[in-house]
Structures are given as C-alpha cells and as structure tokens.
Symmetry: C2
Subunit: 442 residues, 2 copies
C-alpha cells in the first residue's frame, strides 16, 4: 500500500476501507508513515469527512494501538463520563462520588487542562497528598472498594490517539468531527467501561461553538458507541457562560464540595444531576431518568455523596481534612474585583475570554509543559440574567503574581456584556441523544 495513494483517495472524496484505515493508524503509530504524510491525510479528512463506518474503523484502530483496560473484576455496570470541555466545569469531581454512592462504579481516567479549559486531574492535585498516577491494579482496587476513582490515563491507553492529537494540534486539524469522535471514543472504549455518558458542550467557551455542530458531534458519538457495543447517551449542554461561579483549580474543588454538600451553583448542581441520572439508568440502578434523579437528590441531601468523595480522596492518598475545611486548600495571596460600569442586566459572559483570563492568572496552561498555579482563579459574582448596578461586583480575581493581572482583568471585564433588557436564557440542557433518538429542547 502506497500511503500517498490513500491520501489522494481520501482527498478525492472516496471512502477508506477498514484495511486501509487499520494500516494508516498502525503504520503511523509505528513511525512508518511520516508526520508530513499523516498531516496531509488529516487535512484531507478535515475537508472530505468520514462516514460512520470509516469513523468506526478509525476508532477501533486507535483502541487497538494500545490495551483495552479490563474492568471485568469490578462488579456492576461501569459507566464512564466524558465532556468535550468547558470553563469552570468541575462536574466530574462531584459526579463521580454521587454516582458511586448510588451504586454505579466509576473508573475514570481524566486529563489535564490545556488552553482556556481546565482539567480534572489538575483540580484534584489541589488536594494535598492525592495521587493521580496509580497502577492499574491499585485503580481497580479502589473502584472495587470505594466505587469511584479518577486517575491520569495510562500510557498504553490508545497511544496512537495521543500521537495523532499532538500532530492535529499543530496542523490545524483539531476541529474535524470524525477525528474528534475517533479521539474521544477510542479513549472511552479503551478505558473498558460498559456504558458511556457524554457531555457535549456548546457555546462561546466550548469546542463546538455552534449548537448544530455539537448536536451532530453528539449524534455521531452515540452512533459509534452503539455500533461498537457500548450503550451511550449524550447530552448537549449550554456552555455560553461558565458553569458555576468558580474558575481555577482549588476554587473549583471548593465548588464541587459545595455541590456535594447539597449547596453550590444551581447550573453546576443541575448538570451533575442530569448526567448522574443518565448514569444511574445506564448502570441499571435506576429504572428511568426520573428515578435516577430523585435518588441522587436524596444522596446529596443525606451526605452519602459527600462521604463517598472523602472516601475516594482518602483511597488515593489525599488529605481529607481539606474536604471538611476547604479553606485549607491552596489559596491565592491577593484578591481584587472588577465592577460594573453601567446599570443593567448581564446579557452574556464569554466563557472563552473568562478561561483565557484565568490562564493569564496562572490557572491554566498555554503549552503542555507550562506550570500552573493551583490557587489562583476567578469567582463570578453575577451570571447571565442577573441585575447589576454601577460599581457592583461582577467578579473576584484571586492572584499571586501581578505581572499579567492587568491583561487578565481586562479580558475578564470584556467578557461581560451588560444591557437594558433582561435576556432570555437558554436552558442548560439543549438536547439528549440516546439509542431512542434525539430529544431537543423546545
């Protein structure tokens, strides 16, 4: 097989066979296909797309580049969760213990933050002593005993995807639906769970800024999951403003703890309940969505979820004292505020700008190798639809270093749009996609 002929085949809009896609991923992973040919193939895929079969072959070829984690020793239906990324999205931290407390085992591998979005692993590392790089045995052991564990991916989890993603990142081929689906679904399938819940975010801070693109991505991911034998549900959630109030690692841990204490921001709590209810249904511990949701509400109220979180933290070596006393989490030396300069209603809070502002403070990484400051970040004091008067607070800025403070504050300030009329607010959940079809918000 001459790889250049395969590039031309895809470039000309033809479909690649299973054998051709297998060869492509295997030979690329083994260094036989050079990066300069692979990037031409990726750009051809960007322009010509892939049909559902090609995406399936791509996904499986990447799964097979590594090992599929064997979770069969853990009793019950293991349900994995993935989000396409948001700003201030600390859902996983609250969701994993909530669901585990209800009896659904969660063996989750999470990533680190990059660019304007944060990562669950970074957030967890705000907790002193907590280890996120555990052996597979230890990981499975914790899930068996506690019901939930969150760690960094092992190196043999779809390694071809890792190599491919690094190439996509520098060749303008990130935002291609078939490549996104292949990347996400290969990791989820290799992680060994039995069922998958996907949170496809949309809006200014999300990867898929347009709702219709997010819906399309969700549909294809559900199709691929089902085709490959995993029950899969996706929700399309609105990330037009940040989720919750906190943006920044230890600040978001505090907010997750709030949710687990049956408090916390309404939108974050709601998203945890929605995703959790689906997970309980997928895990067959609830007959339907409503039953799942009621169960979780109870679990939040009676403290079971909160205690489960502490158990999980302890099992991973973390100091549980900080869970009871979140004020012991890393905190920034200084705080400043930004205030409204006119009266009105908050029309819009640009999530991307907020994420970038937090990154400037040191909460996020510009490059993979950047160091981050776990203590800094932003607390929103107003959200979309809130009334605000001149000189009232819009947000608090927590910082240690004033070098880029001005730039960060400017970005933060410019993310708020204030207007006369109370804006219409989109619901948090815009669509739910499952094997039963698509249910869109009306």
């Amino acid at each position: 097989m001459r790889f250049c002929d395969l590039i031309i085949k895809k470039r000309n809009g033809l479909k690649l066979s299973e054998k051709e896609i297998d060869y492509t991923i295997k030979a690329f992973d083994e260094g036989e296909i050079p990066d300069y040919q692979m990037s031409a193939m990726l750009m051809s895929i960007y322009f010509q797309g892939m049909d559902i079969n090609e995406i399936k072959y791509l996904t499986m070829a990447m799964v097979n580049s590594g090992k599929i984690i064997d979770l069969s020793s853990i009793p019950g239906i293991k349900v994995d969760k993935h989000s396409t990324g948001g700003v201030g999205d600390t859902t996983t931290l609250a969701l994993a213990p909530m669901v585990a407390a209800a009896g659904v085992p969660v063996a989750k591998m999470s990533g680190r933050g990059l660019g304007h979005t944060g990562g669950t692993i970074d957030k967890l590392e705000s907790i002193k002593g907590l280890k996120t790089e555990l052996s597979l045995n230890k990981f499975i052991d914790i899930v068996k005993k506690v019901g939930a564990s969150i760690i960094s991916p092992t190196s043999d989890l779809a390694p071809a995807d890792k190599k491919l993603y690094a190439l996509r990142d520098v060749t303008g081929t990130i935002d291609s639906i078939p490549l996104i689906v292949g990347s996400i679904m290969s990791k989820k399938l290799a992680s060994g769970a039995d069922a998958i819940i996907l949170d496809v975010t949309t809006g200014s801070g999300a990867f898929m800024q347009e709702y219709k693109d997010a819906l399309k991505l969700g549909k294809i991911m559900v199709d691929i999951g089902l085709e490959l034998g995993k029950e899969t549900v996706a929700v399309v959630s609105n990330m037009d403003e940040p989720l919750g109030f906190a943006i920044g690692n230890s600040l978001e841990v505090k907010e997750a703890i709030d949710v687990l204490k049956d408090r916390g921001p309404k939108d974050l709590r709601n998203l945890c309940l929605v995703l959790g209810a689906h997970m309980l249904k997928l895990g067959r511990v609830a007959k339907n969505y409503e039953e799942g949701r009621n169960r979780l509400e109870k679990i939040l109220k009676d403290g079971t979820a909160f205690n489960k979180f502490k158990e999980m933290i302890a099992a991973q070596g973390g100091n549980t004292e900080v869970i009871d006393k979140p004020e012991l989490l890393p905190s920034a030396k200084y705080c400043t505020k930004i205030k409204a300069d006119i009266n009105g209603y908050i029309q819009k809070i640009d999530s991307r700008l907020i994420g970038e502002s937090a990154m400037l403070l040191g909460a996020g990484r510009e490059k993979k190798e950047s160091e981050i400051d776990l203590s800094v970040g932003i607390i929103l004091k107003r959200k979309v639809g809130n009334k605000v008067k001149i000189n009232q607070d819009l947000a608090e800025v927590y910082y240690n270093d004033s070098e880029k403070l001005k730039e960060a504050k400017n970005k933060l300030f410019s993310s708020f749009v204030i207007g006369d009329k109370k804006p219409k607010k989109l619901p948090l959940i815009l669509a739910t996609i499952s094997q039963e079809g698509v249910k869109e918000w009306e």
Copy 2:
C-alpha cells in the same frame, strides 16, 4: 507569526497576505517550518485554492529563495519555453536550434524524466560527450556564441520550489493549480529570460487530462507572467496520443534530427513550428505569427536549423558525428512488434499507457534515483485515424532486457483502441492564450 494560524486561515478559505506567503516560503526553505505543517498548508491550498495575487506572491517568494540568472549580457530578447509534459515530446530539442537559427537566443534549463514522461536532459545525454551540467558562465557563453544552450538547472534556481515539490510529490498535493503555477513560473522567472512560451498539454498522457483544466492553468500562467513583467504566451496542445512516433531517449533524438532535416512526424513538426513562430514574435524577430512560421519553414528547408543543432551539440562537448549518422546513437539489442488483432481504424492511443510501457522497458524512471536505459523505447507504426488490418504492425518495441517485456507489450497493446469508423481527430493546438486574450479552436 504562528504558522498553525496561517494553516487555519487558508483552511478556512481566507486569503494569505504577501507577508504571510513570504514568511511561509522563507521559513519552510530554511527548515523553520517543519514538513508536517507545510503539508497541511499544501492540502489546504489544494482545497481552498489561491487567487491571482496569492499565486503571484507565492511565485515571487520561490524566485527569491534563490538567485535570478542574469542573462543581460546576451544581446536580444531571450525567450524561454516550458511544457507541462507529454509522451514522446521531443519538441525542445528541435525547437531550440530552429529558433536560435532565426535569431532568438534560447538559454534553456530543462529537467529529467519522471514517471511516464521523458526529460530533455536525458534525451540529450544519448549524445556521447555532451555535458548538461555547465557553469553559468559557460552556459551564457554558448548562448552568446551559438544562440542556444540546454542545461540542467543550477542548484540555486528557486530552491524552495525544489523542496516544496519533493513534499508535494509524497503528500498528494501535486495537482493543485496554484501550486503548479508557482512551481513552473518561479523556475521560468528565475531563469532570467525576457519572455516565455508555455505548452500546456492536455489529454490522456498529460498532467491536465481535461481541456478545461489545461485552459485554466494556461490562463493563470499567462496572467502571472504578465503581472510579473514577462510577456507570456501559452498554447494548449492535444496530448491525447503521443507526439510523433518515437518514445524513448535516443529514439526521440533521432526524431528531433528528422524534424531538423525538414522531415519527421507531422504533429511534432507542426508543434515545433507553432511554438517557434510564437517565440520569434515574442523575440521581436518576426512581426507576427505567420511571418515567424514562414521564416522557420525556410530555416528547416535550407538546413540552417540542422546546422545550428550541430553547433549547439559541439559547444556542449557532444559528438556531432551522431547527428549526421543517427544510427550511431545508443540502440537497443532487440526489436519486437505488436500487431493489430482486428481490422479497423485507430480510435485512440492512450499516451499514459505508452509512457508507462516505455518506462517498463527502462526508458523512464519510476523513482528519481532510478537508472535509465537511453537506447530502449517504442516506435509507433500507426497513429489515431490510421487504418489497420489484422496482423499489421501497431508499434515496434526496442529492448535490451526481457524481464518486464511482457508487461510492457501488454500495456502498449492495451493503449490502442481500434474501431470500425474513422474517428474525428482533434487538432493539435486547442487554444492560444496571450495578453490579447484566448483564441480557442472552433
């Protein structure tokens, strides 16, 4: 400038500025932009195209990656010729001395053959002693004294194009009009001629198989030439069957000698006269096309062109004895024939298949580093429109090695399509493009 942002800009269909294109070519040539990013850019250009300004910037950036050859010491208007490549196309060999004999200096750099098309430099090397790698001074000296010289390109002739072409060749980005125009025109402009004649071939053996694509390519090349201050004329010529009868290096030299002796195949002779007449007009030694053509016909008849060829060969160190006695040129050990298996008229002779057949015999290179056999090749005994009876000759095959003979003969045989009716034959020249506009064959 982050190069990935430029890839995304082009990918999204936006136009690149002069500064951006300059940066791209310079940084790529200097190894600052890695191949894997450049190939993603090339594929984006393949899909999104470039407008006339972008192509102009691209062309000039590649010209400026090397040196522009200074031909100003040669008196007269120097006219360069380029063909997009054909099968059995030995035009340059006859054309250069014809035009030089009429007083237009020809300082031409030519390439070697690759794939199913041959190269003028290889053909010339059939002549014992002839050097094709001369110093620039020696080259200019010969043009001054003799009026014509044909050599291999110097290494500093648009070096960025050389690097870019090598990358395009393995990434499926050869057949992109902006990239083709940039590649051809940068070399022509760097070669230092005052005016340019372009032969854009179309048909089965040509790079542009469709007439409309060839026409488009020709128009853009003429526009770019004119924009960059060089009078440029293009003809679109029909390469649906091979040009002349001979395919193979020394066989084509013999055929060029035939033309210079005022004999030879009608189509090859005609193409030389057409291109030559335009060159005489461009070189201001003929008032118009007709005057140029008449002049060249006279020059062929009276032996001036033939003598000019001998002079040129001698100046480059070649043995002129072979020009008088072409039977001394390298010749193959064996000859076999392929014959018609039905009665009828030749409907079609697939040039690409013929070129591939000659390559299998050893006349062409599969890869750049392949060795070629100058003596082998094919002589067509029938051309499109000719009548043929069962067992009459279609072509002669000259070979030294019988290893791939069967495959070569099969390809050759399959290139002939024989049918009942006398086919309508397209003219050789399908269009002429100049600053006065496009004149299409009616």
